[in-house]
Symmetry: C2
Subunit: 395 residues, 2 copies
């Protein structure tokens, strides 16, 4: 039954050990005292938690040369040994696969992309296996073991079960992807929704580190949103959450594929912008790159389309802020390439529509290189590896 080899498991048996490790992972090198303070543990507990992790090579010690206070015993810093383990993350889009090899600190070692002519589960799995193999070969040279594979798919994904319930882009329904991929690749597999995976990456390795309530908004072909509330990623009781793209901004707006009018996505999604610019300028516009170019050239009407998109996004973010009161909102996504075209409107619309002190929410932007989605998948795999119970876990 189990074709996957008994993979290495993470030597953090106790809650405290997990706690300490993730704290060090997210907050860089820390003294044992600081780690304890952050994790709410006594120094003694940190010492005990750290030892097996040092022995297993997941943590390393290194003293901080500069910035040492003149008095007292110098602090010994503890940090995660990124070299200790590698992970692979794969993002499956409608027409291509993006894969990255990362270390334990989720730093990208290598990225690959390959077109995906066929969306059948079989073919996708074969392509994934091919990419994974390629990355494994590279990883073998570095000597570090690859300990997990994360796969990110848009749509309704049940991470705990490893099942893709429904992915409209891929036209998949109830595919036990984790199991299938584990059989093909021999690695423990984590499957998650793409936006949630990206949110995990921000939560552990990005601008969300240490925050208990924040949101990630992705702007691109679709408009998505990952939410962290009470320190946990929101998954939704029925698999749907963070659908900011289908929040209705203007009931008189353009119609959306979801059946409504004036969704954020129907105004600010890539396709919507391209279509609208085509209509407004009368020119032929092939893709968003051209749309951006037209707007930057100052072609009449094109700028306004972006302005309107920015307004829609800003309103959507304000809605999230009004409902959840996050500490921070991180805007990211491929669409950020056009950020200069709508940044002002996003901020303006957000400030106008945020209620009371919800406006205090810190709205940031982060560039999103194309491998970022795949990195999110790797982050999910890292998370699974670290939090996996050391019992006989199945792929």
């Amino acid at each position: 039954m189990r074709s996957t080899p008994a993979a290495e498991t993470f030597p953090a048996q106790t809650p405290a050990a997990s706690q300490v490790f993730t704290t060090v992972l997210s907050h860089g090198p820390l003294t044992r005292l600081d780690a304890g303070r952050r994790a709410g543990l006594s120094p003694a507990a940190v010492t005990k938690a750290v030892r097996p992790l040092l022995e297993a090579g997941y943590l390393v010690e290194g003293a901080d040369e500069e910035a040492r206070p003149a008095l007292g015993r110098p602090a010994g810093l503890v940090r995660v040994n990124g070299e200790r383990a590698l992970f692979i993350g794969v993002k499956v889009t409608g027409d291509e696969l993006i894969a990255v090899l990362t270390d334990l600190c989720c730093r990208i070692r290598l990225a690959r992309r390959t077109p995906l002519p066929d969306r059948s589960v079989r073919k996708v799995l074969a392509s994934v296996a091919g990419l994974v193999h390629e990355l494994l070969v590279h990883a073998a040279e570095s000597g570090a073991p690859v300990l997990g594979l994360g796969i990110a798919v848009s749509g309704d994904v049940d991470r705990a079960e490893g099942v893709v319930r429904y992915s409209p882009f891929l036209e998949w329904r109830d595919i036990p992807l984790a199991e299938l991929a584990a059989m093909a690749g021999g690695l423990p597999v984590t499957v998650d929704n793409d936006v949630r995976a990206l949110t995990v990456a921000e939560q552990w390795f990005g601008a969300g580190a240490g925050l208990s309530d924040f949101a990630v908004v992705t702007v691109g072909a679709g408009i998505g949103c990952g939410l962290v509330v009470h320190g946990q990623v929101v998954a939704g009781a029925h698999g749907v959450a963070g659908e900011i793209g289908h929040v209705v901004i203007d009931p008189a707006g353009p119609s959306c594929h979801c059946g409504n009018r004036g969704c954020v996505e129907a105004i600010a999604g890539d396709a919507a912008i391209v279509t609208r610019i085509r209509e407004v300028t009368g020119r032929h516009v092939a893709d968003s790159a051209e749309a951006v170019a037209l707007a930057r050239q100052g072609v009449p009407g094109a700028r306004e389309v972006y302005a309107r998109a920015g307004e829609a996004i800003g309103r959507g973010i304000a809605t999230v802020a009004n409902l959840l009161g996050p500490e921070r909102v991180i805007i990211s996504g491929e669409g950020l390439a056009a950020y200069d075209l709508f940044a002002g409107q996003i901020r303006e619309a957000f400030t106008a529509a945020a209620f009371g002190s919800a406006a205090q929410c810190d709205v940031q932007t982060r560039p999103l290189p194309f491998e970022e989605w795949a990195r999110g998948a790797a982050a999910a795999a890292i998370q699974s590896f670290i939090t996996s119970t050391p019992r006989s876990g199945q792929g």
Copy 2:
């Protein structure tokens, strides 16, 4: 410094004991086995947790006469002894105080309301003290001790600190209400936002019992929303959360006191409906009761105003469902008196605007008697009492 007497504390030292008690509180009489199953504990742990609570009188045993399976040792049911302790909840509105005396199961024993001619902190405290005294006298007859006072106020309230940061209705800013009321009344005081308090009541004693993700939407003078995500009430990083009333539904809609146009509250709030019906029908309409009457009589235009309000509420709820994917939404509030006038539209708009399986969310309505807000305050007090750490807690 401490003018409050050393009040009785809840004898649940261990997490397991708290867990078991709240489980029994929310899910009625349970066998020890069932309680353990629900709380994720072994039967042995339940026995140990239950004993001190029985001894202290917070729990009582009672066998279930009917519905006993023919075989095996009959189960001994454990339930909360409501008589063991009483709590007082007070809701402060702009023009009146509502107070209730409840038992430990949050069942209302007595309700009182009194007009509030003056909103100064001094006067409000005096009125609260008067009402509390009156209820205390009644409570004394029953012999059960009153162990906590909850105060619910609309606006930005920091429950942990017991401070009202800003309440627009009362025009209060940074009032350490818990401390002030504790000095006046001699009871441990919990101060919370009114909608959050109501949400706590639903979470522990109502339709949210046992759910880890749900929302409470209140319809009335304002449109509010309390959220429970991952089993905890959402408070917002900056004190604002659940502001569904100021989610913009229609940028071309009527202007709202918050400065925007087309907020849910600007369409479906009591004042908005009355104003609009006045405009549409040309008649004099004094308050919502008259507005409802006109709509029920079939006066042309009045019904449509309610229909539009229902649509706005339904859209707002759909927005919550799209973003958070709650298991259930509980609609409540004074405005529910007009439920027959907009129920259809709420449901319709919700179904239309909910994305994908977010539409599976169970939308319920619950009548909201006038004392319900005060009961929410009592629920908050009960929660504080039960979860209070048995260290030297301050009032």
